[in-house]
């Protein structure tokens, strides 16, 4: 009578892979479909001249039908497909937050990131070559005939062509670096659900604006770099002088090409984000055992891949709020046997997620507290045992007082928590090559700077390099909190609707544990927000393709937590007095019942 479980490892990951791939392929296909109109607009903008408008238009038309245009268009399609697959390979739903400058540097110098940057550089050169063909004129070829001193014709380097190609490489490289700095590979989920087309349309103007501005800054930096480094002996027109570089037409074409490059890439990224975060409705239960692994309770409890777990949690939050028929399946009993397997699996998984966050917060708070205490203790105890003490640093014996077991649990116990995987949480995805995995795996474990919760003696010893900002640490603690937010919403809505819909009372049995879990988390979150800088708001940067949602996740979590507890207390009211709980939780609950939180 216990349901047959699930010997499904390879089959399962294969299916997930196909779902992921399907979405990614669809997004790439759309990006390729959008490429012809974008390219046409680019051709017109780059070739248009105010003085001879008709001539320019006819030139554009004849160019668009030429063989070189078609060849470069095929190249562009190839680049878009490549960018799409890089997006798929590098995306993550849990942002990687660098807590210090050195951690950021570590991310930038990571081999995986190096591959990414190299790929973007090469693709940048290809796009720039296509741009050079498109703009035509003096940019078209790499070698120009030039007269040598003795009058014999010879081929010289055309620096206009070269400067455009290198600009492509530079913009591609800086795009890849900025991607790390602004967390561009982070895919966030929106609170407001919209259809794909409407979401895409809504973000299009922002993408255009971002691309144009980023292109402007990139070209400015590139010009500076080129001025100092661009010395080519074979050039006809040396451009590394101020006069050579301040050619308005050259700057315009550089900017237009960089904007075109960034716009097509950003568009691919936008489409990828829209497709990959699309709501997916999992069946709550299936009458066929072979489909059991696709059902919501099973997908929820799976660790991998992360995106599927997130989609399942999102689906749970939505079904608990909007869909009475699917809720009734959650509350239903198994046939035969009469066990609430669905509810048990869902509530257990949500509660364990919340408990995990509570543990993480308590552990972090304890380190901060112990840190302060260790310092004062060390100054106090130094006088007694100064022979052993090593200057101003607290001795290891004192550090033993930090609850190492708590850390062991939070670090080793959950390999997917952002504490230990600040880099690439999708490393275990089927797309990560084994070589890369081997390269990164030891680094994740042993490098001290990747952990957000660092042991205090390391922090003390090298305070300048390792200095971390508390706000960012706080961000890192809550990096995967989108999952907790959905778990809270799903649980609270299910409990709310159980008041009238739960015929067999399956939710009642879990109510004490749900309440105590939420109240415990509430206490931990309250304590966390009393830490300095934890409640300081990050500066918003609206004009960037990077997603800054992760910076405010902790505030969203705090608000959702309160709302969820209120949802339960307003539904059940004074009936909750009959629920067994500790005196401290009772006191906290009373505050909620009186609307004083």
């Amino acid at each position: 009578e216990t349901r047959t479980t699930f010997n499904r490892g390879p089959q399962r990951s294969f299916e997930c892979m196909w779902r992921d791939m399907g979405n990614a392929v669809a997004s790439i296909a759309w990006a390729v479909l959008l490429l012809p109109p974008i390219t046409a607009v680019f051709v017109i903008i780059s070739r248009f001249s105010l003085l001879h408008p008709i001539q320019a238009v006819s030139e554009c038309l004849s160019f668009l039908t030429s063989a070189s245009a078609i060849f470069s268009f095929i190249l562009l399609c190839g680049v878009i497909i490549m960018v799409g697959f890089l997006n798929l390979e590098y995306y993550t739903v849990i942002p990687t937050i660098a807590c210090s400058k050195i951690a950021l540097l570590g991310q930038l110098l990571h081999p995986r990131q190096f591959v990414n940057s190299l790929g973007h550089c090469i693709m940048g050169i290809i796009v720039a070559w296509c741009c050079a063909i498109t703009v035509g004129g003096r940019y078209e070829t790499i070698a120009d005939p030039c007269a040598q001193g003795d009058g014999s014709p010879q081929m010289c380097l055309n620096e206009y062509h070269l400067i455009l190609l290198l600009a492509g490489a530079f913009v591609g490289f800086s795009h890849s670096l900025l991607g790390v700095i602004y967390n561009m590979n982070y895919v966030s989920f929106h609170t407001v659900q919209q259809y794909k087309y409407l979401r895409f349309k809504g973000s299009l103007s922002l993408v255009l604006k971002c691309s144009a501005t980023q292109a402007l800054y990139s070209v400015r930096n590139y010009i500076v770099v080129y001025f100092f480094l661009g010395k080519w002996s074979l050039s006809v027109h040396p451009l590394d002088s101020i006069a050579g570089l301040l050619d308005l037409s050259l700057l315009y074409h550089l900017w237009i090409s960089a904007s075109f490059l960034l716009f097509t890439w950003h568009l691919t990224l936008l489409l990828f984000r829209v497709f990959v975060t699309e709501v997916y409705s999992f069946p709550v239960q299936s009458s066929f055992t072979e489909d059991a692994h696709q059902c919501l309770p099973t997908v929820l409890t799976d660790k991998q891949p992360m995106i599927l777990k997130f989609l399942a949690l999102l689906d749970l939050a939505l079904l608990s709020q909007h869909s009475p028929s699917r809720r009734s399946e959650v509350f239903s009993l198994s046939q035969p046997g009469g066990h609430p397997h669905n509810w048990n699996a869902i509530s257990k998984e949500c509660l364990s997620l919340l408990a995990d966050l509570t543990q993480r917060l308590i552990a972090y708070h304890d380190t901060v507290a112990t840190n302060g205490r260790a310092k004062s203790l060390s100054t106090g105890s130094e006088r007694k045992t100064s022979s052993e003490s090593s200057g101003m640093f607290p001795r290891p014996t004192l550090l033993m007082k930090t609850p190492a077991s708590v850390f062991a649990r939070s670090i080793v116990g959950c390999p997917q928590s952002p504490l230990t995987a600040p880099f690439t949480p999708d490393l275990d995805s089927p797309f990560a090559s084994p070589a890369l995995r081997r390269l990164t795996a030891p680094m994740d474990q042993c490098s001290p700077w990747f952990g957000t919760v660092q042991s205090p003696h390391i922090m003390r010893r090298v305070p300048k390099l390792w200095s971390t900002s508390t706000g960012e640490k706080s961000q890192a603690l809550f990096a995967d909190s989108q999952a907790h937010i959905w778990a809270l919403e799903g649980l609270s809505y299910l409990v709310q609707s159980s008041f009238s819909e739960d015929q067999f009372g399956v939710v009642q049995t879990a109510l004490p544990s749900i309440l105590s879990c939420m109240l415990g988390l509430q206490e931990a979150v309250d304590r966390h927000f009393k830490l300095p800088h934890a409640s300081s708001k990050p500066v918003r940067s609206a004009s960037s393709m990077g997603d800054s949602t992760h910076k405010t996740l902790r505030f969203a979590l705090r608000a959702t937590l309160k709302t969820s507890i209120y949802r339960i207390t307003t539904t059940f009211g004074n009936h909750l007095n009959a629920v067994k709980m500790s005196a401290e939780h009772r006191k906290r609950l009373q505050q909620f019942l009186e609307y004083k939180e």
Partner: protein, 462 residues
């Protein structure tokens, strides 16, 4: 079909309506106009008090850009034609003329765009005669007995019968408050629609402070989204929507993370009034044109509802969210709209309607009428509140109940039902004199009657 002619005549002048069954509630507030310290002049007019001081062209241009935006900059360049090259001043003058022509063309399509923001707030507010009102906005807390009052001097006071302190909220950006609303499923958050932004105050109910600092307020703003005339929290407390007649997009805010999603639809020229259905499934969004939209909140798509005559002035939802009542400017009719197969309904009332309020049990509908021009009422009769009984079974009907009338010389400006009054319904009315009164209606709701009948039957069996 129901009309004011079926009503018992209003009380003779000099008598005040107390309540439906002649009981009274002790809580009544009074804000005399004289007690409020008003801003005597707006910030832009204080320029005249200072001596003219010549600055460089760059400084003036920067200041013009800051104060007046692109058109301000063009204006400044055109006016200082002695200092700039001729081609620059001429071309900026031409651009300015072109812009003005275009905006006047746009304005002729949507006349409200030419109004000042104060006028716009007065025009589209649910409050009658908003600019002259002492109490500009009022909001009951959805779960407890506290309420917030926004006053003419741009301050907000929070009254709680269980607490001795009355916090007063003031903020630099809190100007021309058009609406306030408490966040559901939360004890602290109060959203305030201001002239230039949206403020969300977090007022700790246990705090003894009477002047919470402006650090307790979150500022939400989006370019082009001002003045804000209407706001609505989702009943689940997770989202906040805001509307501005200047912006064709309605903003959906995730307040905790301070991020907003604009929901853009062309047509209508802006959004003036929002109302979220109590079950959370729909949002009514009316526009300055003869068109309103009903959004469903799951995937945020909308239905367009063009009106024949004027714009949708006000609307309210039945407690179960299945029926929408709305009124159209210039008409004396209440329309009922359902989202199931049941037919719609309309009812002629004798006057033009300013706003509607439906009590949470769905048994009483209060209608604020602008001024009556009916047979037995003289034409200069001030605004009045008419109360209807509503019945949904077997068919939807509005039955006359009575009028709510205040002290002589005062008229109602704003009204709201208490969200959880135990003995029927409690209507709070803000009067033109600055008084706030609470009007209880004692009745047994249909649900309560049914449960009583059930109890009686059970008793009989015992």
């Amino acid at each position: 079909m129901c009309s004011l002619a079926l009503f018992p005549p209003p009380l003779p002048s000099g008598q005040t309506t107390l309540c439906e069954s002649n009981n009274e509630l002790p809580l009544s507030l009074f804000f005399p106009r004289e007690s409020l310290k008003l801003h005597c002049r707006t910030e832009s007019s204080s320029k005249a008090a200072f001596l003219d001081h010549s600055e460089t062209l760059w400084m003036r241009s920067a200041a013009a850009w800051r104060d007046g935006g692109f058109t301000g900059l063009l204006d400044e360049i055109t006016n200082s034609n002695t200092e700039v090259p001729k081609w620059l001043s001429v071309s900026s003058g031409c651009t300015l003329a072109l812009l003005r022509w275009f905006s006047s063309f746009h304005g002729s399509l949507f006349p409200h765009l030419t109004m000042s923001s104060e006028d716009m707030l007065a025009e589209f507010s649910q409050v009658l005669n908003w600019s002259d009102c002492v109490v500009r906005a009022f909001a009951w807390h959805p779960h407890t007995d506290k309420f917030a009052v926004a006053l003419l001097d741009d301050s907000i006071k929070i009254y709680n019968p269980k607490s001795a302190t009355t916090p007063t909220l003031k903020h630099r950006l809190q100007r021309s408050v058009a609406a306030v609303q408490w966040k559901p499923l939360c004890a602290t958050a109060l959203a305030v629609a201001c002239q230039n932004c949206l403020l969300v105050w977090h007022v700790d109910p246990c705090s003894l402070s009477t002047r919470p600092s402006s650090g307790c307020a979150q500022v939400l703003s989006h370019p082009g989204h001002s003045p804000i005339t209407s706001i609505a929290w989702s009943p689940s407390g997770s989202l906040l929507v805001s509307a501005s007649p200047m912006d064709t997009a309605m903003m959906v805010w995730d307040v905790a993370s301070e991020s907003g999603v604009p929901l853009q639809r062309v047509g209508g020229g802006g959004v003036t009034f929002l109302s979220w259905s109590p079950d959370g499934s729909h949002v009514l969004a009316s526009t300055p044109s003869a068109l309103f939209r009903v959004w469903e909140t799951r995937m945020w798509t909308c239905e367009r509802w063009p009106c024949v005559k004027g714009r949708c002035q006000s609307g309210c939802w039945s407690p179960d969210g299945s029926r929408l009542l709305f009124t159209v400017q210039g008409e004396t009719v209440i329309y009922a709209l359902t989202f199931t197969d049941t037919p719609g309904y309309l009812s002629h009332v004798g006057g033009e309607i300013q706003s509607l309020a439906w009590d949470p049990t769905g048994e009483r509908l209060a209608v604020l009428l602008k001024g009556l021009s009916h047979i037995f009422l003289s034409a200069d009769r001030p605004a009045i509140i008419a109360v209807f009984k509503t019945r949904t079974n077997p068919i939807f009907e509005l039955l006359p109940c009575g009028f709510v009338q205040g002290e002589p010389g005062t008229e109602p400006r704003l009204m709201q039902f208490h969200p959880n009054f135990q003995h029927g319904a409690l209507l709070t009315v803000c009067w033109s004199s600055g008084r706030i009164t609470h009007m209880p209606f004692y009745f047994l709701s249909a649900g309560a009657q049914r449960s009583l009948a059930l109890k009686a039957r059970n008793l009989r069996f015992l």
